[in-house]
């Protein structure tokens, strides 16, 4: 068989298009919204009372014990609230009116399994494994909006009908177009493999890959945040991006000055600052003004310090909502109190704000997802959960 290079490229394109109808980020003529949403998933259960302490609560110091003592002063917020000193740049955004803290928030799920809680956080259901696709995919797909996962695999929150690409740095050489074309023929009867390959190849053709190097850990998250900003700032870029940061399961010794919690908060803070910087500087400027970033974890941790200077799994925690489009400088949510009788099952921070209220508020006001769809498809059975007003104007 004799195939000319150009014929080959055309074939590849046709097959790629057949398998992945929206390989490119080109929008429709009318143009989808230019607003941008970033979801940052903190895996492992971030200690809400560690990230956003509440020194103004009379029970705080007693319940937290050694965890309440920090070497640097807390960064104060309105009312009884504060931020961990490692979140300095987030605190600056709060001061500029670009960031909100939502305290005592959490999911309808109240057991304490990481894996089930993450399933609920990402699927948008009320029980684990009740839904097998992601709430963000269900929100974006029918609206024709596109998304990007900054990871090698697609996280559950983006799995489903929506168009999703993934990106992560690579250090290996790039396979050529001819090989890709042959592989696409090999995958004619295996659409799962074919779609994955077509998307990866499509994304690479649109990006300058020369500056990429593989990184791990904290630096990796900041790099991914920076890349996310670059993709989001493109006029034909995705409307939504998902970043993940793990390592929040701080059962032991969490308050150590260079311990896991502090390091992770520093990394998160640097990543959020990199997002802001990237979206401010980018051409087509002002992308930050059209951006909302939601930072959430699958659950918070027990109020009481445990026996090993850490915290065990809990329920209520904290979420951050930031971005140029956010009406910030506020701490949202009703404070339930930390006294034993005020806790959930006598142990956890009681949830007073359903996290879905935050997510629904952002999807409705920022991405204009109709409320009927939010209640029926995106977060089924959530009619009673009223969207929270988070944006300016």
């Amino acid at each position: 068989m004799n195939i000319t290079p150009s014929g080959l490229r055309r074939r590849l394109l046709l097959q790629a298009l057949a398998l992945a109808p929206a390989l490119s980020f080109a929008g429709t003529a009318a143009g989808p919204t230019s607003n941008r949403l970033v979801l940052v998933i903190l895996r492992g259960g971030m200690d809400g009372l560690g990230a956003a302490p509440v020194p103004g609560d009379p029970e705080f110091a007693g319940a937290r014990g050694a965890l309440a003592q920090v070497t640097e002063p807390l960064l104060s917020l309105a009312g009884p609230y504060a931020l961990h000193p490692a979140l300095a740049q987030l605190h600056a955004m709060y001061g500029r009116g670009e960031a909100c803290v939502v305290h005592a928030t959490g999911l309808p799920y109240r057991e304490r399994s990481h894996f089930d809680a993450q399933q609920v956080l990402e699927s948008g259901g009320t029980r684990p494994h009740e839904l097998s696709t992601g709430w963000l995919a269900r929100a974006l797909g029918p609206a024709g909006l596109k998304s990007l996962a900054l990871s090698t695999a697609v996280p559950l929150v983006l799995r489903g009908a929506a168009e999703v690409d993934t990106w992560a740095p690579s250090v290996l050489p790039e396979p050529g177009a001819d090989l890709v074309a042959r592989l696409m023929r090999l995958y004619v009867d295996d659409p799962a493999l074919g779609t994955a390959l077509a998307r990866a190849h499509g994304l690479r053709e649109r990006t300058d890959m020369s500056a990429m190097t593989a990184t791990t850990g904290g630096a990796g998250f900041v790099l991914l945040a920076r890349r996310a900003a670059e993709f989001l700032a493109q006029s034909q870029g995705p409307q939504a991006a998902v970043l993940e940061l793990g390592g929040w399961d701080t059962h032991a010794n969490q308050a150590a000055p260079n311990g896991a919690l502090t390091q992770n908060l520093r990394t998160l803070d640097a990543g959020l600052a990199a997002l802001r910087e990237g979206l401010m500087q980018a051409p087509g400027q002002g992308a930050w003004a059209r951006t909302v970033v939601v930072v959430a974890s699958e659950f918070g941790r027990e109020v009481q310090i445990n026996g090993t200077l850490g915290t065990d799994h809990g329920s209520g925690g904290v979420a951050f909502v930031l971005g140029g489009a956010v009406k910030g400088g506020r701490v949202l949510g009703d404070w339930p109190g930390l006294a034993k009788a005020q806790r959930f099952e006598g142990r956890d921070l009681r949830i007073t704000t359903d996290l879905r209220a935050v997510l629904k508020g952002v999807l409705a006001d920022h991405l204009q997802i109709a409320s009927a769809r939010l209640e029926a498809e995106v977060f089924p059975d959530s009619a009673a959960v009223k969207p929270l007003a988070l944006l300016r104007g």
Binding site: H114, T152, V154, S170, A192, T195, N258, Q263, N306
Partner: protein, 469 residues
């Protein structure tokens, strides 16, 4: 549809094993070939591999050195410390990873080795947590490999009380709130700084994961109170202290009564008396609990048969687990003789580790697999050997591994390997001899029409028939 003998041999080699360049040695009875492999795992590949005690000694030596030599630099800059730590452990960690991979590549009992990998993932310990570094290989050799062909209960006990697990899930630092130790400590608390852990009570981490991930499963019907009570049962199971490491009779993990919570504990409605024997009794009862049988059955079927395994098969596996009291050979017998396990459609996607191991077996690579990278390049495809991201281990369904980026990395890896070997290998011949009737006519044709040897080999490695099992 009646299956030919060749097709059964190919499925035995790829679905139940770790791949093979040809199917001749499997013989005419693939099921018997698989079941004859079941037993304690092969002796580990390599010599002078570290025991858990060796790993602990290495860790303490590191901390001692860090305290005395490098202290000033460390407080201000954590990075050099991490580097030192990594270098200090590199030889041990590399030897462990090498042993695991080359053992699997060269094993004459690939089904048994697959089972070893399965159980090591079920009872995950991970060097993603620094305090576990140097102990993961020892955990596999001491807690998993001896029990692969034995009883679930014995493996459970060995895994839960192994030093690596006690470290990984924090039990080593969990004390009964009313234990002698906690009482002593509470009298002189609030004097030292935050960096020294002051243990005053329970840590529930191991207890919760024993119930959720090792035995009953999250649907298994336990409560928060059961988690707390099991945590109390587990108090006292600790890792040897530094000063005892050179004692004659020291073991890496042991039961320390002064850390144990006094009094009886009630787990799942049953009372257990104070003392170390309570853990044996709880683990025995957990093994016999119907939820454990269901949980293990589902996981095993999902691993070997399909991301959504047939319920009838899961039910039969659960029955044989329960009827045998968790005797694993009975479970494997049910699996291997189940008609559902031999469906010709290959639906499971290999993990990056399985992909690399099976490629090495296909090409007879042996030690050259690790000539350039410490893990054969598996980490580049999204999986760090012996360093799973969470106690749940690596995911076991295709959509978890099928991101576009992950797919791309496989192509990159395959074409790099093929670039080195492809001109010396006849990929067309190898495709036929390895995959037998599993190789579709279309894939065979694509491989045959490749532009050159390396490209043909890349196509073979990336074919759906080789990516899936």
């Amino acid at each position: 549809m009646a299956m030919t003998q060749d097709a059964a041999a190919a499925l035995a080699a790829h679905r139940f094993g770790l791949g093979a360049p040809n199917l001749e040695r499997i013989g005419s009875e693939p099921q018997a070939w698989l079941l004859a492999q079941v037993g304690p795992a092969d002796a580990p590949w390599g010599v002078n591999l570290p025991t858990a005690l060796d790993g602990l000694r290495l860790q303490y030596a590191f901390y001692r050195e860090r305290r005395t030599v490098h202290k000033p630099a460390l407080a201000s800059d954590p990075k050099p410390a991490e580097q030192q730590f990594a270098e200090h452990f590199r030889a041990t960690v590399d030897a462990d990873v090498q042993s695991r991979l080359l053992g699997a590549v060269q094993s004459p009992r690939p089904f048994n080795e697959r089972l070893m990998l399965f159980w090591a993932n079920h009872f995950t310990v991970s060097m993603a947590k620094a305090q576990v570094r140097g102990l993961v290989g020892a955990f596999e050799r001491e807690a998993i490999r001896p029990h692969v062909g034995g009883s679930f209960e014995a493996m459970l006990k060995a895994a839960v009380t192994h030093a690596a697990m006690l470290r990984y899930l924090d039990n080593s630092a969990s004390a009964g709130p009313n234990s002698r130790l906690a009482q002593r400590r509470s009298r002189r608390i609030a004097t030292d700084d935050l960096r020294t852990p002051r243990v005053t009570g329970l840590n529930e981490n191991l207890a919760r994961e024993v119930l959720e991930l090792h035995t009953l499963g999250v649907q298994g019907g336990y409560t928060q109170a059961d988690v707390t009570a099991l945590a109390a049962v587990l108090t006292g199971w600790r890792v040897a202290d530094p000063q005892r490491l050179d004692d004659q009779d020291v073991s890496a993990s042991y039961f320390d009564p002064s850390w144990h919570e006094p009094g009886s504990k009630t787990v799942l409605g049953k009372r257990y008396a104070e003392g170390p024997q309570a853990l044996d009794q709880v683990l025995h009862d957990l093994t016999l609990h119907p939820a454990t049988a269901k949980f293990v059955a589902n996981k095993l079927a999902r691993h070997f048969v399909g991301d959504q395994p047939p319920q009838a098969l899961v039910d039969r596996l659960a029955q044989s687990f329960q009827r045998s009291g968790g005797q694993l050979p009975a479970l494997y017998q049910t699996l291997v003789t189940a008609p559902e396990a031999w469906a010709p459609q290959q639906t499971k996607l290999k993990t990056p580790e399985e992909f690399v191991i099976s490629s090495a077996r296909l090409l007879g690579l042996g030690e050259t697999l690790l000539a350039r990278t410490r893990d054969g390049g598996i980490a580049q495809m999204g999986q760090r050997v012996q360093a799973a991201p969470s106690p749940a281990g690596w995911p076991d369904s295709a959509d978890e591994w099928l991101g576009p980026e992950a797919m791309w990395r496989r192509v990159e890896w395959a074409s790099r390997l093929a670039g080195r070997l492809g001109s010396r290998v006849d990929a067309r011949q190898l495709a036929g001899s390895s995959l037998g009737p599993l190789l579709s006519a279309a894939s065979g044709q694509q491989i045959a029409r490749a532009a050159d040897g390396p490209q043909a080999l890349t196509l073979l490695l990336m074919s759906p028939e080789f990516q899936r099992r």
